[in-house]
């Protein structure tokens, strides 16, 4: 309507007038499909974090650790440097026993733990098969890990990762422990994941990968046992099943020894090593590409020396390649040992994600 007296006050009666005067509202962008963690705890980059979980297993049992145990509960990525495992038995009957990381194995995965089934495909397997805990890392101290038959209960060690493992916010480790029935009592297995929070995920990161070879144990290898002495790995053992190149940092190799008696049950790593690290021969070790690692038969302990219990020689394995090993227990005539031994070996390597 035109105001003839005050022309400047002339307005339009059109309803469009009011719309034009309204401020423009810009909608926010669509949020990225990263749901926040279900449990968001305060935290800031640089803050140390340790996540701990555990489970008690009866002989022969296998169980997943509580899914929240190894979930990164903050809004920042968690840079993991160490995995620390521990074993103990709640049974008072076996308080005088010494047992080793051979008694419990672990299956580890990295991904959105605790989600629904749709998230299963997002998991990255860190283990090719259940890995006895003692094979996850090299020997920390031979004085601790060699057998000393004292009143020690349980076992434990630290696995220092050569390259950090990054757990994004809202994701975590999924750990399943298995009681390998080498010990006749329940075992409580615990795992601690230690690291610190960081600003953001690196563009290029490495994820650890373990691929074991765990042949059937030699049972009752006492005097006179001359049969069933050879163990050979298959193409599924010590294999790179990741689909990409695997940077192997070391091959761990240990011998678990166990003796049951009325007084004690002895389970040890590298125990009685003078016997078994010498009597157990590696007759052949070859890579699937034809490369000969061990040409002539030699003692297990010559390849996996007692200080490290690992063959520390980095190399790269292509996808679907593997290392083939033949073990043979040499004749035991004349010895006075009645034990059972469980040799084990494990590839410890890293896969690369991201970057160029």
């Amino acid at each position: 309507m035109k105001n003839l007296i005050w022309p400047s006050l002339t307005t339009r009666a059109s309803p469009d007038t009011t719309r034009a005067a309204a401020p423009r509202v810009r909608l926010p962008p669509t949020p990225k499909p990263i749901p926040p963690p279900r449990v968001a705890l305060p935290g800031q980059p640089g803050q140390p974090v340790t996540l701990v979980g555990g489970v008690t297993l009866n002989p022969g049992d296998s169980s997943e650790v509580n899914t929240d145990a190894f979930l990164n509960p903050t809004h920042f990525p968690l840079e993991v440097r160490e995995l620390k495992w521990g074993l103990a038995t709640p049974s008072a009957v076996y308080t005088g026993s010494l047992f080793s990381g051979f008694t419990v194995d672990a299956t580890l995965r990295l991904g959105p733990v605790g989600r629904d089934a749709a998230g299963v495909d997002q998991f990255e397997a860190l283990t090719a098969a259940p890995v006895p805990l003692t094979l996850l890392g090299r020997c920390v101290d031979p004085g601790l890990e060699s057998v000393v038959q004292t009143q020690i209960v349980g076992a434990g060690s630290v696995v220092t990762l050569d390259e950090p493992l990054y757990i994004p916010p809202g994701q975590g480790l999924s750990a399943r422990f298995g009681h390998r029935n080498l010990f006749a009592a329940p075992i409580t297995a615990t795992l601690a994941v230690s690291g610190k929070l960081v600003d953001k995920m690196p563009a290029k990161r490495a994820v650890p990968y373990w691929a074991p070879f765990l042949p059937p144990a030699y049972s009752q290898v006492g005097s006179g046992n001359t049969t069933d002495l050879v163990r050979v790995s298959t193409e599924r053992d010590l294999a790179n099943l990741t689909g990409g190149p695997l940077r192997v940092r070391r091959i761990t190799g240990r011998i678990g020894v166990y003796t049951a008696s009325a007084l004690y049950t002895l389970l040890s790593d590298n125990g009685d090593g003078t016997f078994f690290a010498k009597l157990l021969q590696i007759t052949s070790m070859r890579a699937s590409n034809g490369c000969v690692i061990v040409k002539d038969a030699m003692p297990f302990g010559a390849v996996f020396p007692a200080w490290t219990l690992a063959l520390e020689s980095p190399f790269v394995m292509q996808p679907k390649s593997y290392i083939n090993v033949a073990l043979k227990l040499t004749a035991m005539a004349g010895t006075n040992v009645v034990n059972q031994i469980q040799p084990g070996m494990c590839l410890c390597g890293y896969r690369d994600f991201g970057g160029k």
């Binding site: 057998v147 038959q149 040409k295």
Partner: protein, 310 residues
């Protein structure tokens, strides 16, 4: 990073005997070039009753000497005690164990070896192998009559990796030691010396004291054991002073004084790591404050490496 390779062979040595390892076993399959990362020396003393019971601690490294050549290049100009090659990784008073006492099964941990991680990986071309001579002198054995008649099984394991490419030059280690017999307190001009015609990049000194003590059973030997000859005990403390090639004392305060052996070579590692270039013909001089006896013999060695065209 090539694939790993492990070579190994063993021999039996009686007192006063020397023998070469099988040269064919010291070459990888197809005679490929490779790098040596470390040597393992594994020594056990068999007995008739139980071949693995006796003396399973690394004290045997004082009994056996090694002389290693890579092609024409010697890693030591004369046989060196295995103790002189590498520091103990895990020094314990437990190295002082009876040679003749049998251990119960649960105590047989396989620590009877020395591990020599080379200063730098040594490239071994395909046309050159490793020539390893092991010897067992009578100088120590004669003090242990119970061992003279027994064979020592000496095993060497060579751990390394295949070479991805051919290298024109190799980093070859060099070792020279001073392991005096009873009564001799000074190193001579042939010991702790660069006997080659090229510079040696030194890595470390190693110092250990071989001794035996009957109170721990017949033939009990170890690296110093528990009586602290190295300086923290009360009896016959061993001391040492070392002069560099320019005759400057590198140990002792004030200059020229003797320092307790254990201060120079502490129990944790028994090693003194440093970097220095030792020119051809130069040598260090070591002097001991207490005369060695048959039952307490200090050992001082220098370890380094030089570059050789291969």
């Amino acid at each position: 990073m090539g694939m790993p390779v492990v070579l190994s062979d063993s021999i039996l040595l009686t007192s006063g005997q020397a023998n070469n390892l099988n040269a064919a076993k010291m070459q990888p399959a197809s005679r490929r070039a490779f790098f040596v990362r470390e040597f393992l020396f594994i020594i056990t003393a068999p007995s008739a009753a139980n071949p693995f019971d006796q003396g399973n601690y690394h004290s045997f490294g004082a009994f056996i000497r090694a002389q290693i050549k890579m092609g024409p290049h010697a890693l030591m100009t004369e046989p060196q005690p295995i103790w002189a090659l590498a520091p103990p990784r895990h020094w314990v008073g437990g190295s002082f164990r009876s040679l003749t006492g049998a251990f119960v099964a649960a105590q047989r941990a396989w620590t009877s070896f020395d591990r020599w991680v080379l200063p730098k990986p040594m490239f071994v071309p395909g046309n050159a192998g490793l020539d390893i001579l092991l010897s067992r002198g009578t100088d120590i054995d004669t003090n242990f009559p119970g061992l003279v008649s027994s064979n020592f099984e000496a095993r060497v394991a060579v751990i390394g990796e295949y070479a991805d490419k051919i290298m024109p030059v190799s980093d070859v280690p060099f070792v020279s030691s001073f392991f005096p017999e009873a009564g001799r307190m000074y190193s001579n001009d042939r010991e702790l010396k660069n006997t080659l015609d090229r510079d040696i990049e030194l890595q470390r000194f190693i110092g250990r004291i071989f001794n035996n003590d009957a109170t721990f059973g017949f033939g009990a030997v170890g690296d110093e054991g528990v009586n602290s000859w190295g300086g923290s005990g009360t009896t016959a403390q061993q001391t040492i002073k070392i002069q560099d090639p320019q005759n400057y004392y590198v140990t002792g305060v004030p200059y020229g004084g003797f320092a307790p052996f254990n201060n120079v070579f502490p129990w944790n590692g028994r090693t003194w790591t440093f970097k220095k270039l030792l020119q051809p013909g130069q040598n260090f001089h070591a002097a001991l404050g207490v005369a060695p006896t048959v039952s307490t013999r200090p050992l001082v060695s220098l370890v380094g490496s030089r570059k050789e065209r291969v």
